[in-house]
Amino acid sequence: MIENVKQINVQELLHEVQSMQYDGCRLITATCIDNNDDTIDLYYHFDKDYEIRNLKLTVPKGSAVPSISRIYLCALLVENEMKELFGLNVENIAIDYGGHMLLSDGAPENPMLRQQITIVKKGEENNA
């Protein structure tokens, strides 16, 4: 239902993002979605004159994704977030917070991944 989705693979990512930048697109953000089956959908949303363009990748959990922060510096926050909350190994981020941008030391690892939910719920039930 999302318009302008282009399915690409990890190798093409940097090239596609680069060509988006040549087109004068604005990076809105990136979105990770856990598919419940060991893969993560990864969207990069771009905007040109109020028209949204999306790049879609489907990557296995914990896999390496190149950072686009050398092309769009403003991607650094979202890439750090992807790394922390979804456990994607985003390589060469311009400023790497090392997993401590949003989460602190004792926080659960990759809390946005599906498997984690059940664990947290069980803990709550046991406590109660």
Binding site: M1, I2, I33, Y50, Y97
Partner: protein, 358 residues
């Protein structure tokens, strides 16, 4: 000259919310700045996966108080697209009225904080006195001062009566007159100009490169206002995005000042065109599919990505708030500026950290 690292924040008199900056200084000049967030991360995106999609309206409103109305509006618009709901015309106009009231109160809040940040306490109080009038309108029409909870899936929860609309118009006229009196203090006063003009300049190219949104982009000469795409009832109202080309703190103040007048005009126009009829449509079933919903908040464009799978719970909700997009511009603006200008400079991006971290 040796380098010194000065930590700025997370607790600082000018910052309403915790934002930490590592400033690498040479004498009084900043040569490098590294922002750090993470003090108010609450995991609200995770929470929305556990709540039902109807309850999520109240969760997304609590992402940020100042723009809560627009958060709920964006979320409801997304769900309505997924469920093919056509909301009544009156609800669309009512949403615009409340959203613009929110914009006025947010900009007035920001102006007060800015006045406070350059030490003009009395101006700060003048501005917030006006803000209080907007808050009273919101309490009277919606039942709460800040988190007004008027949006629901399929329309709005409350209607505004004719008498209240007339009263709103009168109060807005008062605010406009008061702002006209205060405007020259902000825009012409010697000391205020001294603190704002030429500080933190962000050129048009830099704004594009760093993907700035909202008043930040508009102050740098990019005519980007998502309201012009005509979502909700904006398509039937007349307005032009307010654009300044200087890109400094003064231009950003000017943009926000003019946007207050613009919002007052928009509300008056919306009240004039407000159609009669229902305020909400009932709906059945659960949403399925993916959707992206975008609206313009006081601070810029917000993006909602929703993926639903036909159950009561959403599979994923992603929020990209405007401050998330504007923080990287600090990396561009801070190097080269003086330490004394940092508070003003940070405030002019209108940081909303609880939005950013969710």
């Amino acid at each position: 000259m040796p380098k010194t690292v000065i930590p700025f924040g997370p607790q600082h008199p000018v910052l309403p919310e915790p934002l930490h900056l590592k400033l690498v200084m040479q004498d009084e000049k900043i040569i490098e700045a590294i922002p750090a967030i993470g003090y108010v991360h609450r995991g609200l995106e995770k929470l929305t996966e556990l709540k039902e999609f109807t309850q999520n309206v109240y969760v997304v409103e609590r992402i940020c108080g100042i723009c809560s109305c627009m958060h709920a509006m964006a979320y409801c618009q997304g769900i309505e697209t997924l469920m093919n709901l056509q909301i009544p015309d009156r609800a669309r106009f009512l949403r615009v009225i409340w959203a613009e009231l929110h914009r006025i109160h947010s900009h007035l809040l920001w102006m007060g904080l800015l006045a406070d940040s350059f030490g003009f306490e009395s101006l700060f109080m003048q501005i917030w006195r006006n803000r209080e009038k907007v808050m009273d309108i919101m309490e009277e029409t919606a039942g709460s001062r800040v988190i007004i909870s008027v949006n629901t899936i399929g329309g709005t929860r409350r209607d505004i009566s004719k008498e209240l609309l007339l009263k709103t118009k009168v109060i807005l006229e008062e605010i406009r007159e008061d702002m006209k009196r205060i405007e020259p203090v902000f825009l012409n006063d010697y000391t205020v100009k001294h603190r704002l003009v030429g500080i933190g300049t962000l050129t048009k190219e830099d704004a594009q490169r760093h993907c700035a949104v909202g008043p930040m982009a508009r102050a740098s000469g990019i005519a980007m206002d998502f309201r012009t795409t005509g979502y909700s009832a904006y398509g039937e109202l007349e307005f032009e995005p307010i654009v300044r080309t200087d890109g400094d703190c003064y231009a950003r103040t000017d943009v926000r000042m003019q946007e207050i007048y613009q919002s007052i005009n928009l509300i008056e126009e919306a009240i004039g065109k407000l159609p009669a009829g229902e305020i909400a449509v009932p709906f059945k079933g659960n949403p399925t599919g993916e959707v992206i919903s975008r609206v313009e908040q006081p601070r810029g464009e917000v993006l909602y990505y929703l993926r639903a799978n036909g159950t009561k719970n959403l599979e994923r909700m992603r929020v990209r708030t405007p401050t998330f997009a504007n923080i990287p511009t600090l990396l561009q603006m801070l190097p080269g500026s003086e330490l004394a200008d940092v508070p003003v400079l940070i405030l002019t991006i209108d940081p909303c950290i609880s939005c950013t971290e969710r």
